[in-house]
């Protein structure tokens, strides 16, 4: 069994108004060190091993459904699940 952690964020070129609002709050709280906040999604998938390669599967699922590559970037990690 594999555990796949997928991180999805808006592409760098796209304004993240939610992140900007949170950044404003952090600045008001005195955390001036924060220069940017980007808010995204975290997906965790349990995948049973099969003949199909995990990387191929994850990339396919990300391109077809889990992300919209017009506006989003993603990266993922594969771990051994218990």
């Amino acid at each position: 069994m594999k555990k796949v952690k997928i991180y999805v964020t808006l592409r760098e070129s796209i304004l993240d108004p939610q992140g900007s609002a949170v950044q404003g709050s952090l600045h008001n709280m005195g955390y001036d060190e924060v220069s940017e906040v980007r808010i995204g999604k975290f997906l965790e998938l349990q995948i049973d091993p099969s003949e199909r390669d995990v990387d191929t599967l994850v990339k396919e699922m990300c391109e077809k459904l889990l992300t919209n590559t017009v506006i989003e970037d993603y990266r993922y990690e594969v771990e051994e699940a218990n």
Partner: protein, 228 residues
Amino acid sequence: MKFAVLVFPGSNCDLDMYHAIKDELGEEVEYVWHDEQDLSAYDGILVPGGFSYGDYLRCGAMANQSNVMSEVKKAAEAGKPVLGVCNGFQILTEAGLLPGALLRNKKLKFMCKNVDLKVANNNTMFTNQYAQDEVISIPIAHGEGNYYCDGETLKQLQDNNQIVFTYSGENPNGSLADIAGIVNERGNVLGMMPHPERAISEVIGGAEGLALFKSIVKQWRESNVNQA
């Protein structure tokens, strides 16, 4: 002319769309459930607004995986009119039938009010009953209507006159180039955030959306008479 109104779990403007076609336009219309495998009996496809699949993951993402969407793609390839309103627009961009994507409104608020729209191109099968640059009042109701595409795509949209509606005056959601509605390159797929089906009678506050549906029917009648 016979229209299909697609219904996904969570669609909520399907009744308005149906009413607009049947009672105000006087054309044939049927609801079509999202797992339908055949749309060949219909002359026009309407993808209504709402919150298909609860807007989970991304607006329109899961609706795009429904059986009926491969049929919608076939209808679009066949040149039939396909209109997506609000969530319908989001579904059509997810399906790749229209370029770009709809982001969260710039001010993060759900906007529900009447807006002024400029008819930026009246030379389409959806807008031939409007005057060029005519300003019409149509309701919007969305949280994610902030149209985005990359610079190259925007240039293509502009060069091919694919921008059909723009917000006139105030831009309610931060849309790129004030875009409220676009067509595909061929001109038979229109996606728009404002709701023309909610502006079809003075009794409910305005009828300036009705001409959009009349445009579709006019074009269809003419091309079918020509073929006959």
